[in-house]
C-alpha cells in the first residue's frame, strides 16, 4: 500500500517592533531577567492592554504579501490556561475573527510552482520564559518575552513531503525578512514552527490521524522530524496498528519523535472575545497605504533579475534569498554591468567570506567586508584585461582586509596585468630558453607540456601576464618551431 504524506505547518514569527504588543516595554533581546517588564505585561492587578499599531500594520503587510483577505473588523480573544510563563492566566490572541484569512504562498518544487494555501494569519502575544536547568528544586521565570508581538501563520495541510516543508519555511522566512517584520532566526526563537503530520492511502481524500510535532528548532529538525514521523506512521499502519492523535516532541539528539507525557487534563482554552479591547477596524485607505509601501518580494525580484540581467535561475535564487544580498547585487551594477560575473563573485567568494567571518548571522548586513562598488570595479578591471581572474582573488582578499579599492590595491602591490605583446613575448622567451627540454618534448608531440609551460610563465610573471594573450603567443612560438638563440633569447629568423 502506498501512502501519501499530509503536512500542515504552524509558524510563530516574532515581530520587529520597538515595543511590546500591549504595553510600552522594549522588545530588545538579551536583557537582564525581568528588565523589560511593567505591570501590564506581568499581569498585575488592575492593568489593561493597549494595542500597538505597528503590530497591526505588520500583520496587514504579511497578509497582503500572501494574498490574504484582510478583515475590516477583527477581534482579539482570550485563550485561558495556567502556566508560570503566562502572567495573566490567559494569552491575548485571536480566535473567531483573525486579521487575515485565505492566502497562499507559492513554492518551487522541482521547477514546478506549487501553491500552499494559508488558512489564517493572526496577532497574539508571546509568553515569558521558564528556565528549568538553573535549579533542581524550582523553576525560574523571566517575563521579558511576555507580551512580545507574534504573528501566527497557519497553512492548510497542502504540504506533501519534508522537502516541501523545508521549502515552504524558507520561502516564508525570506518573505518575512523582505517585509522587514521578522528576522527569521529559528535558533534564537524569533521564527518557530510546529508541524501537523498525517498519512493516508494514496488516492484517498480523507485525512488520517493527525500528530502534532513540537520542538522543531531548526530547518533540519523540521525536515528530519517530518521524515521520521512519516516513516513511523506508515510503519505503524502497515503493521496493522492504529495511530492516536497526540503531540510528539522531536528529540534532536536521538533523532526521533517521542510522545509527550500524557497530560492528565486536556486543554480547554475557553476562548471568548477580550472585553478589554474593542474590535480592530481597518479601513481601505490604510490597506492601500501599506500595499503601496510593500517592498518587491523575493519571488518577484528573482523573476525580474533573471529577465532583466539574464543571469541563471540558480544564481537568481541565491541572490534573492536575502534582501541585503539582492540589494548588494543590484547596487554593484551601478558601477559595472556584468551581472553574470558579479553574481559568481557574490555567490562564491563573497558568501564564503561572510560565512568565515560569521557576518551572515546578521539580519541585514550593512558593513560589507567588500563594498559593492569595489567588487564591481574589480570585475570591471578583469573585463578590461587589467588584471587576471586568478589574481583578482588576491585583490578580493586584500579588499576585504583593508577596505581599499581594487585600483589602490593593484597599484600598491603592483598586480597590474601585463598585456602588451612585447613584455609577454619577452617573458615567454625567457621561459622557453630555461626549459629547452620541455619545449623539445612538446614539439615532439607531448601536448601536455603546454600546461606546464603556461604554469612556468605564470610563475615567472607572478601571475600578472594576461593569460589569453600568453596562451596565444606561446602557442605561436611553439608551433612555429622558433629556435631561440642561446645568448640573446631573440627569435632567430
Amino acid at each position: 500500500m502506498k501512502y501519501e504524506t499530509v503536512v500542515g505547518l504552524e509558524v510563530h514569527a516574532q515581530l520587529l517592533t520597538q515595543s511590546k504588543i500591549f504595553c510600552g516595554c522594549s522588545t530588545k533581546f538579551g536583557q537582564a531577567p525581568n528588565h523589560n517588564t511593567c505591570p501590564i505585561c506581568t499581569g498585575f492587578p488592575g492593568v489593561l492592554p493597549v494595542l500597538n499599531k505597528k503590530v497591526v500594520e505588520f500583520a496587514i503587510r504579511a497578509g497582503l504579501a500572501t494574498h490574504c483577505e484582510i478583515a475590516r473588523w477583527s477581534r482579539l480573544a482570550r485563550k485561558n490556561y495556567f502556566y508560570p510563563d503566562l502572567p495573566k492566566g490567559y494569552q491575548i490572541s485571536q480566535y473567531e475573527l483573525p486579521i487575515c484569512t485565505n492566502g497562499y504562498i507559492d513554492i518551487a518544487v522541482n521547477m514546478v510552482v506549487k501553491r500552499i494555501r494559508l488558512t489564517r494569519i493572526h496577532m497574539e502575544e508571546d509568553a515569558g520564559k521558564n528556565i528549568h536547568d538553573l535549579r533542581s528544586d524550582a523553576s525560574l521565570v523571566d517575563l521579558n518575552r511576555a507580551g512580545v508581538p507574534l504573528l501566527e501563520i497557519v497553512s492548510e495541510p497542502d504540504i506533501r513531503s519534508a522537502e516541501e516543508a523545508g521549502n515552504y519555511l524558507r520561502t516564508l522566512r525570506a518573505m518575512l525578512q523582505y517585509l522587514e517584520i521578522c528576522d527569521g532566526n529559528m535558533e534564537e526563537g524569533s521564527f518557530r514552527c510546529d508541524a501537523n503530520v498525517s498519512v493516508r492511502p494514496e488516492g484517498t481524500t480523507a485525512l488520517g490521524t493527525k500528530v502534532e510535532l513540537k520542538n522543531l528548532n531548526s530547518f533540519k529538525a523540521v525536515e528530519k522530524g517530518i521524515e521520521f514521523e512519516i516513516r513511523r506512521q506508515i510503519e505503524a499502519l502497515s503493521d496493522g496498528g492504529r495511530l492516536i492523535q497526540e503531540t510528539r516532541l522531536w528529540d534532536p539528539d536521538r533523532e526521533e519523535t517521542r510522545s509527550m507525557r500524557t497530560k492528565e487534563f486536556a486543554h480547554d482554552y475557553r476562548y471568548f472575545p477580550d472585553p478589554d479591547l474593542l474590535p480592530v477596524a481597518i479601513d481601505e485607505e490604510w490597506i492601500d497605504e501599506i500595499r503601496a509601501s510593500l517592498p518587491e518580494l523575493p519571488g518577484a525580484r528573482k523573476v525580474r533579475l533573471i529577465s532583466q540581467y539574464d543571469i541563471p535561475s540558480y544564481h537568481a535564487e541565491l541572490l534573492t534569498n536575502r534582501k541585503d544580498v539582492a540589494d548588494y547585487f543590484e547596487s554593484t551594477l551601478i558601477t559595472h554591468r556584468n551581472p553574470t560575473a558579479i553574481a559568481n563573485w557574490i555567490t562564491g567568494d563573497l558568501f564564503r567570506l561572510l560565512k568565515d567571518r560569521k557576518l551572515d548571522e546578521k539580519l541585514y548586513i550593512t558593513d560589507w567586508p567588500v563594498q559593492p562598488d569595489n567588487l564591481a570595479a574589480m570585475v570591471a578591471l578583469i573585463d578590461q584585461g587589467k588584471i587576471s581572474g586568478k589574481l583578482a582573488k588576491t585583490v578580493f582578499e586584500a579588499m576585504a582586509d583593508s577596505g581599499s579599492s581594487p585600483q589602490e590595491i593593484i597599484a600598491e602591490k603592483g598586480l597590474e596585468q601585463v598585456s602588451d605583446p612585447e613584455s609577454i613575448e619577452k617573458a615567454i622567451d625567457q621561459v622557453l630558453i630555461a626549459h629547452r627540454k620541455q619545449v623539445a618534448d612538446y614539439q615532439a608531440g607531448n601536448q601536455k607540456i603546454f600546461g606546464f609551460l603556461v604554469g612556468q610563465i605564470m610563475k615567472a610573471t607572478q601571475g600578472k601576464v594576461n593569460p589569453q594573450k600568453a596562451n596565444e603567443i606561446l602557442k605561436r612560438k611553439l608551433t612555429e618551431g622558433n629556435k631561440i638563440s642561446a645568448t640573446s633569447g631573440r627569435k632567430l629568423d
Binding site: 505591570p39 506581568t42 499581569g43 498585575f44 492587578p45 488592575g46 492593568v47 489593561l48 492592554p49 493597549v50 494595542l51 482570550r78 485561558n80 495556567f82 508560570p84 502572567p87 495573566k88 492566566g89 490567559y90 521565570v141 480547554d268 475557553r270 471568548f272 472585553p275 478589554d276 479591547l277 474593542l278
Partner: protein, 485 residues
C-alpha cells in the same frame, strides 16, 4: 461646627475662604473615624499619617493657587479595589492581604493631582462580588442607620463611611449595582457613570465589560463635582471614551420642566417591599410637581437581566481572576508541585463567593457550554439593550427603585446565593447596557431605614440625570438627615 459632617461643596468653599485649614478638616474626619470605626468597620486600611502630610501640602496650595480645584484639601475614602501606590490594596481578599501596589490607578492619580486627601481604603465584598460587604475576608461593615444591618455592597465600606461622616466624599465601583445599592441602603448619593466615562485603569477587574468607577457623596452637587474631577479619556484604558467632560455642576439649575420620565411597569411587580414602592412613587409625584412629564413604558426583558449578568459577569471574572495564581504576588501556598501550588494558593486565598463565581464563569465558557450559556446570554444582553434604546426614543430618563428592599439584616441572605443575586434586579440592567444611573435618597421605611430612588439616563447624558436628581433633592430634605450614630 462638625467639620466632618460638611459636604464637598460646603467644605471646599470654606477651605477656599480659609475658614479652616485642610489639616483641621482632615483631623476632624480622623477624629470621627476613631469615634465610630469600632462599631462600623468601614475601613480596611487607614492612612492617617500620609493624609495629614497631604493636608499640609494642600494648605500650601490653597495659599498660592489662584484657581483651586474643587477637591483640593478634601478627605476622600477609596474602595479597596482601587490600586494605590504604596498603600496596601487587598480587595478584601486574603489573597492580596499584604499586596502593596507599585502604581496608582488613573482615578487616584487624578485626585492626588487635584489635591484630594486619601483617608484610607474601605471595605467591600471580596473582589467586589457581593451585595452586602459580608463577603469581605476580614470583617463585615455595619450600616450606620442600624448596625445589625448590612450597608449594602459591594461598596459597603465607602457607603457606610460616607453616611457616618468618616469622609467628605467616597469612591466606589459598580459592576451590578455596587455603588447604587449601598448608596440606597445608607441614605447617600451614588452614581454609576456611563461605561467608558471614567478610566478603569488600575481598578482590580471583576467584569471588564461592566465595571465602572463612580462617586459616592452626601448630595447631588457633590456628585456632579466629583464626576467632573474623575471623568475623562485615559489612553491606558482602551475602553475609555474619548469625549469631552461637560461641566456637570452647571446643569444643576433645578429646572426640569418638560423632561420626559419613563416608569417601566416591569419594575413594580411583586417582590418589592411595599414602603419602597410607595416612597418611589411619591418621589415621582414630586417630580411631576417639578414639571416633568411621566409616562409608563415597558422594558420587556427585565426579568432576564439577572440571569444574563450571572453568566457574563462571572465568565469575565473567571478569566480576570486567573492572574491570582501565587506566582508573582499575593498568597502562595507551599505544595508538592506546580499544579498543587496553584490549586491550594487559590483555594486558600479566595473566599466562598469568589470561588462560586469563578466556578460558574468557568463552566459557562467551557467546551460544550459556551454557546448555550455565554453566547446565549450575550444575545439576550443585546435584547435588553434594544429595550432601553426603544424606551429612550420617547423619554429622557427612566426612574425605578434602586433595590427591592431596604437594608437587610447581617446574615439574612448569606445562606442562599441565588437569593442574594436576585436583589440586584433593579441595578443590573444599567451595567449590562452601560447606561449611567444614579441613586439618591427618597424616604425612609417604617424602621427608619433609607430608601433609594434610581434615575437611569442615556449614554453620556449624566447631565440630565444629575439635573433631575438635583431638582428632586432640593424639594426634600432627605439629604440633610444623618444616622443617629
Amino acid at each position: 461646627m462638625n467639620l466632618a459632617a460638611l459636604t464637598l461643596h460646603e467644605a471646599g468653599e470654606k477651605l477656599r475662604k480659609r475658614e479652616f485649614s485642610a489639616q483641621d478638616l482632615t483631623e476632624a474626619v480622623f477624629r470621627r473615624i476613631s469615634e465610630t470605626e469600632e462599631k462600623l468597620h468601614s475601613y480596611i486600611t487607614l492612612s492617617r499619617d500620609a493624609a495629614l502630610k497631604e493636608a499640609k501640602q494642600a494648605d500650601e496650595r490653597l495659599k498660592s493657587d489662584t484657581n483651586p480645584r474643587s477637591l483640593l484639601g478634601i478627605p476622600i475614602a477609596v474602595k479597596d479595589n482601587f490600586l494605590t501606590r504604596g498603600i496596601r490594596t487587598t480587595c478584601a481578599s486574603k489573597f492580596l492581604e499584604n499586596f502593596i501596589p507599585p502604581y496608582d490607578c488613573t482615578t487616584v492619580k487624578k485626585l492626588r493631582a487635584s489635591g484630594a486627601i486619601i483617608t484610607g481604603k474601605t471595605n467591600l465584598d471580596e473582589f467586589a462580588m457581593g451585595s452586602s460587604a459580608e463577603n469581605s475576608a476580614f470583617f463585615a461593615t455595619r450600616n450606620p442607620w442600624d448596625t445589625d444591618r448590612v450597608p449594602g455592597g459591594s461598596s459597603g465600606g465607602s457607603a457606610a463611611a460616607l453616611a457616618a461622616d468618616q469622609c467628605i466624599v467616597a469612591l466606589g465601583t459598580d459592576t451590578g449595582g455596587s455603588i447604587r445599592q449601598p448608596a440606597a441602603f445608607c441614605g447617600v448619593v451614588g452614581l454609576k457613570p456611563t461605561y467608558g466615562r471614567v478610566s478603569r485603569y488600575g481598578i482590580i477587574a471583576f467584569a471588564s465589560s461592566m465595571d465602572q468607577v463612580g462617586p459616592m457623596t452626601k448630595d447631588v452637587r457633590d456628585c456632579a463635582l466629583m464626576l467632573e474631577a474623575i471623568a475623562g479619556y485615559d489612553p491606558a484604558d482602551s475602553t475609555s471614551a474619548n469625549r469631552p467632560v461637560p461641566q456637570y455642576s452647571a446643569s444643576l439649575t433645578g429646572d426640569v420642566k418638560d423632561l420626559r420620565i419613563g416608569i417601566p411597569k416591569e419594575y413594580f411587580v411583586s417582590g418589592i417591599q411595599p414602603d419602597v414602592e410607595q416612597a418611589v412613587r411619591t418621589a415621582i409625584r414630586q417630580l411631576e410637581r417639578n414639571g416633568v412629564a411621566i409616562k409608563e413604558i415597558s422594558l420587556p426583558h427585565t426579568d432576564y437581566a439577572v440571569a444574563v449578568y450571572y453568566i457574563v459577569a462571572t465568565a469575565e471574572a473567571s478569566s480576570n481572576l486567573a492572574r491570582y495564581d501565587g506566582m508573582r504576588y499575593g498568597h502562595r501556598a507551599y505544595a508538592k508541585d506546580l499544579t498543587e501550588t496553584y490549586m491550594l494558593s487559590r483555594a486558600e486565598g479566595f473566599g466562598p463567593e469568589v470561588k462560586r463565581r469563578i466556578m460558574l464563569g468557568t463552566y459557562a465558557l467551557s467546551a460544550g457550554y459556551y454557546d448555550a450559556y455565554y453566547l446565549k446570554a450575550q444575545r439576550v444582553r443585546t435584547l435588553i439593550k434594544k429595550d432601553f434604546d426603544e424606551a429612550f426614543k420617547s423619554c429622557d430618563a427612566i426612574i425605578v427603585p434602586t433595590a427591592p428592599t431596604t437594608a437587610f439584616k447581617i446574615g439574612e441572605k448569606t445562606q442562599d446565593p441565588l437569593r442574594m443575586y436576585l436583589s440586584d434586579i433593579y441595578t443590573i440592567s444599567a451595567n449590562l447596557t452601560g447606561l449611567p444611573a444614579i441613586s439618591l435618597p427618597c424616604g425612609f421605611d417604617s424602621e427608619g431605614l433609607p430608601i433609594g430612588m434610581q434615575i437611569i439616563g442615556k449614554h453620556f447624558d449624566e447631565s440630565t440625570i444629575l439635573a433631575i436628581a438635583y431638582a428632586y433633592e432640593q424639594s426634600t430634605d432627605w439629604h440633610k438627615r444623618k444616622p443617629n450614630f
